[in-house]
Every structure is written in structure tokens, then in C-alpha cells.
């Protein structure tokens, strides 16, 4: 089975974000493989271990996004593809999906695995767009994936439980963090990753035209902040104080 996992390099969720002059989020700071994508890589590897095949990581980003791909390769993925092009800086979801779709089509995968959403953008729009552009069905919010021949079945998380959703391959799935605990890269894996192939592709080679972006940022303002209230140390009286607040709010 040929499995493509989309991966993205994002600002470290544990670092502070900064803004560039044009109001885009600075990508110059510490960057890591998106933690959500680590789960996608893990699931891809588990499926490969169970069914054989190949795990290919596809990413769009600047040259140094290779580091994120390398991280996935050190976990055990077979090779990587990086679409890197200065003209793609600040690409919106649709352009990103178009670029990824063009690169993924060349691989003719049976399965495409995406995280439900990225850590930095958090909008989750690329996967359904990608599925549409690839002409694949989408099986989303998966907390469990089973493959049987050409049938893929997922447990799709819902508000009160899950749905069992199935489709024939090729298909795109999105996975939640509940899918699998990402493995640590072993020293052997890290060494092996150094010699694994990362193919670099220019957007022009994929025939993707950069159209008009979906949105233009007109301005950025500080979000309305709440004022701090009273902060007390619990000296045994905190419970009484909370009860007073609950009573005043008429919920008790």
C-alpha cells in the first residue's frame, strides 16, 4: 500500500509567536514538525507495518521545512517530497491544497493521511479541499483506522461517540491525536534518515498557478482582553468564596 502523509513545519507550540511587518505570522522562530502530523506519520507507519508498502511524506514550505520531513523520516517513513517556492510564501488554504494535490497525484497513493488541523492555522480546511482536488472520498476525525484489501474503515469521532465510516481506496483520511502515540526516533532511525531521499519540486514544475488569495488582511487589532479579578491563596476559605461567587451568579 502506498501511503502519503502530509506534513507541515510550524512554529513550536511552546514558543511565543511574533508578527512580521505585513501582519503574517513569523516563521523565523523555532520550528518543529506539527505535533498533529507526528500522529499522522505514526498511523502511516503502523499501516505499512501491518500491510506492507511505502510511506511518503509530502510538505510545502521553505527549504528548511526539510527538517520537519527529516523528523518523519527518522521515525521510519521511506522518503519525502518538498514543494518549495518563494512564490508560495503566505499561501492560503486553497493554494496549499492545489500544490499538495498536484504533487500527490504524481505519487498515485492508495491512502492520503492528514492531521485534522494544523497547530498554527487550526482551521482544518486543507484536508477537505485536498480530497476534492484529488477526487478522493474523505474519512475524517479518525481515532481508529482499519484497512482490509481495498476497503478503509475509520471510527470518526462525533460529539457523543463515533461513526463507523468506510470507503474504497484511494481515499483521504484525517486523524486526531487520539489515533496513535507517535514513536520516538531511534538513533538508528536518525542515522538512516540522513540518507533517505527528499525530492525538491518547484511549484512551476507542478503547473500550479498562484491565483488571487482567498482573503486580504486589512488590519490586525488586539483581541478584547478580560480584566483580572481577585486572586486568593487557598487557606481553607477558598471553597466558601467560590460558593459565594456561584450564589451571586445565581447558579446555586
Amino acid at each position: 500500500m502506498k501511503i502519503v502523509v502530509t506534513v507541515k513545519q510550524v512554529p513550536d507550540p511552546n514558543s511565543n509567536l511574533t508578527l512580521e511587518a505585513d501582519n503574517t505570522i513569523s516563521r523565523e522562530k523555532e520550528v518543529v514538525l506539527d505535533p498533529g502530523d507526528e500522529c499522522g506519520v505514526e498511523e502511516g507507519l503502523q499501516l505499512k507495518e501491518a500491510h506492507g508498502g511505502e510511506v511518503i511524506l509530502v510538505s510545502m514550505g521553505p527549504e528548511r521545512a526539510k527538517d520537519a520531513i527529516r523528523k518523519g523520516l527518522s521515525m521510519g517513513a521511506d522518503r519525502g517530497v518538498l514543494i518549495s517556492d518563494a512564490s508560495l510564501a503566505g499561501a492560503d488554504a486553497l493554494l496549499t491544497a492545489r500544490v499538495l494535490a498536484a504533487a500527490i497525484k504524481q505519487e498515485e497513493p492508495d491512502l492520503v493521511i492528514c492531521a485534522t488541523e494544523s497547530y498554527d492555522g487550526s482551521t482544518g480546511m486543507v484536508p477537505p479541499m485536498l480530497a476534492e482536488l484529488l477526487g478522493f472520498p474523505q474519512l475524517t476525525f479518525a481515532k481508529k483506522v482499519e484497512v482490509d484489501g481495498s476497503t478503509v474503515k475509520v471510527h470518526r469521532q462525533t460529539a457523543d461517540g463515533y461513526q463507523v465510516v468506510e470507503a474504497s481506496t484511494p481515499a483521504l483520511i484525517t486523524v486526531t491525536a487520539a489515533i496513535a502515540e507517535p514513536r520516538y526516533a531511534s538513533l538508528k532511525g536518525i542515522m538512516a534518515a540522513r540518507s533517505k531521499e527528499i525530492k525538491q519540486v518547484a511549484a512551476s514544475e507542478l503547473g500550479v498557478e498562484k491565483g488571487q488569495p482567498a482573503e486580504t488582511i486589512e488590519g490586525v487589532v488586539e483581541a478584547e482582553a478580560r480584566k483580572a479579578g481577585e486572586v486568593i491563596e487557598d487557606d481553607g476559605s477558598a471553597v466558601e468564596k467560590i460558593v459565594q461567587v456561584l450564589a451571586a451568579a445565581k447558579v446555586l
Binding site: N23, D92, A93, L94, S122, T123, G124, M125, V126, P128, M129, A131, E132, P137, Q138, T140, F141, R156, Q157, T158, A159, D160, G161, Y162, Q163, V165, E166, S168, A171, A177, A178, Q212, P213, A214, E215, T216, I217, E218, V220, V221, E222, A223, R226, K227, A228, G229, E230, V231, I232, E233, D234, A238, V239, K241, I242, V243, V245, A249, V251, L252
Partner: protein
């Protein structure tokens, strides 16, 4: 007047509250019509009429209930070709965003996701979107035709203004090519007593709860208060509790009368989903945690001691 199409999401045959919230906004922006797909669509049309829809396009084809995203995308794409709405509004919910994503790709239009508000400006639309992890708000002008905007739940109040919608049967044939991601089974795990989004009191737990084995303490407090239990992304990612309990940017938005954050530091990712709560109470070991700077009452102490004592005090007061 711009024409606004609202994608009305149905849940067990009823219009989702999020969709009714969108109707409130849509009425301000122009002529509103809606589309409702699947079982219950016709009944939904009357509800949507009361909320300001002039026309509701309906189809009760079971394909809309049985297959993920693609049949609805077909219906919306064909409706767009006929009606050419200026703006299509979706709720930022798991089901709607899948349809919106496919539709935007099919129409080549792009979209604006995760918005807090949308206004008409210079013949187009500008959306307010949480930015920079929620610390800032960006104004984004939609360049696509149609403009497609996904709005976070709880951004507006749903309110019926009375009215009757003209119901139009949507003429769309869902082809076999779109019947692919088949929902074979629906499994209910959690017997949700009080819905998180609708609860008057929400008690959420984070890493400071120490582990999943301590979440029952929150359940007991929630039961005593008639509230619901939520969680931060950190503990959902750690697998302590299901995704359905997550409050925050990538989870649910809540706006209860009282929100009690227990052992939650208050990362932007979390606070963007709860900061419009009327009263916020935080219980945390760390007096410097960001949540303390936005709480009406911050208690520095051991959650595992305070929560059970609070449950006992609440019960005593109710019985007293």
C-alpha cells in the same frame, strides 16, 4: 441587497443551534435563503423561516445522511450555479467545514474559516478572525466569488423573528460517484447529561488534574451543579478524555454563566473557546498562570483538595 445563503446543518432532523445563530447574522447582511439537506429538512425549513429565511431549498434524499460531505457538496455547487449567492455562511463545525472545504475547492473560490463575525463592506464582505493564537483579531476581506465564510459557534444569539419561508424542492441528483464515504454505523458512547455547549455551568480540567483518574471529581461537581465537564487540548491530546470534551480554538466554544477552569494554565488555544463566559473561576497551583489574569476569581491551591470540598459544599447548600 446582497444575497446570503446559509448552510443549515441538521442534527437528528433538527436545525443545529449554530445554524440558527448564523441566521441572526445573515438577516443583517441581506436577503437570506437557506439550504437544508437530509431527513427532517422540510420541518427544518419552517424553523429557518421563523429565523428569517425567505426561501429554504430542501431535499430529504437519504444520501445526505448516509455519506460524508460529497452529496452535500454536489447540492451546494448546483445551487450556487442557479442562485449565485454573494455570500455562503457555514458554522465552523466538524460536519460543515468538510462540506465548505470541498465546495470552496470545487468552485475555486477559497474561503475564510474560524471567523467571529462578518460585515458587509464596499460591496463585499470582511470577516473578523482570531489571529496570532487568539491574542489578536484580524480583519480579512473575502476575495472569492462567492465569499465563503465559516463562523465559530456562539458568535451570535439565535433569535426567531417570526416569518414563513417558501420551501423549494432542490433539484439535485446525487450520483453514485458521490456516495463513497459511507456512514455504516453510529455509536453513542457518552450519555451526555447536559450538553457542553448548552450548559449554564462548565467545569473544565487540564493537566493540573494530574491524570484521567481524577476527572470523576469534576463529573461529581458538574452533577451537583447541573453543569457539564470540558477539557483543555493538552489532556485531550494526552488521551485522558475524548475530543468531544475539548474547549478551545480547535474544540468547542462555550459561553456559560459560570466557567470553572481547573488545572488549566490558560493558553490562547483554550481561552479563545471560553473567554466570553460570564463569570470565570480558575483553580490552579500557579499564581502566575495566564488564566489567573482573566478570571473573576482565581484560587491558588490544590485542585484535588478544593474540588471535592466544593462538591460537598454545593451539595450541603442545595440540601440546606
Amino acid at each position: 441587497m446582497p444575497s446570503i445563503l446559509v448552510y443549515a446543518e441538521l442534527s437528528e432532523g433538527k436545525v443545529a443551534t449554530t445554524s440558527l445563530e448564523l441566521m441572526t447574522k445573515a438577516r443583517e447582511l441581506g436577503d437570506v435563503y437557506a439550504v437544508a439537506l437530509g431527513a427532517g429538512a422540510k420541518t427544518a425549513a419552517s424553523t429557518l423561516g421563523k429565523h428569517g429565511a425567505k426561501v429554504v431549498h430542501v431535499s430529504e434524499d437519504s444520501a445526505f445522511d448516509d455519506y460524508v460531505a460529497e452529496p452535500a457538496t454536489d447540492a451546494l455547487a448546483s445551487l450556487y450555479e442557479k442562485e449565485k449567492p454573494d455570500l455562503i455562511l457555514f458554522g465552523f463545525t466538524p460536519d460543515s467545514r468538510e462540506v465548505a472545504g470541498r465546495l470552496a475547492a470545487r468552485l475555486g473560490a477559497g474561503l475564510i474559516s474560524n471567523a467571529l463575525d462578518v460585515v458587509a463592506k464596499d460591496g463585499g464582505f470582511v470577516a473578523q478572525v482570531p489571529y496570532f493564537g487568539g491574542a489578536k483579531v484580524a480583519s480579512m476581506k473575502a476575495n472569492g466569488k462567492p465569499a465563503i465564510v465559516l463562523i465559530r459557534p456562539k458568535s451570535f444569539e439565535a433569535s426567531a423573528k417570526g416569518g414563513t419561508a417558501e420551501v423549494k424542492q432542490l433539484d439535485v441528483k446525487v450520483g453514485d460517484g458521490s456516495k463513497r464515504a459511507h456512514i455504516a454505523e453510529r455509536v453513542v458512547e457518552a450519555s451526555e447529561k447536559v450538553k457542553l455547549e448548552e450548559a449554564r455551568i462548565v467545569i473544565s480540567g487540564g493537566r493540573g488534574m494530574g491524570g484521567p483518574q481524577n476527572f470523576p471529581l469534576l463529573e461529581e461537581l458538574a452533577n451537583a451543579l447541573g453543569g457539564a465537564v470540558g477539557a483543555s487540548r493538552a489532556v485531550v491530546d494526552a488521551g485522558w478524555v475524548p475530543y468531544s470534551m475539548q474547549v478551545g480554538q480547535t474544540g468547542k466554544s462555550v459561553r456559560p454563566g459560570v466557567y470553572i477552569a481547573v488545572g488549566i494554565s490558560g493558553a490562547m488555544q483554550h481561552t479563545v473557546g471560553m473567554k466570553t463566559s460570564k463569570i470565570i473561576i480558575a483553580i490552579n497551583k500557579d499564581a502566575e498562570a495566564p488564566i489567573m489574569k482573566m478570571a473573576d476569581l482565581g484560587v491558588v491551591g490544590d485542585a484535588l483538595k478544593i474540588v471535592p470540598a466544593l462538591t460537598a459544599a454545593v451539595k450541603a447548600k442545595k440540601n440546606g
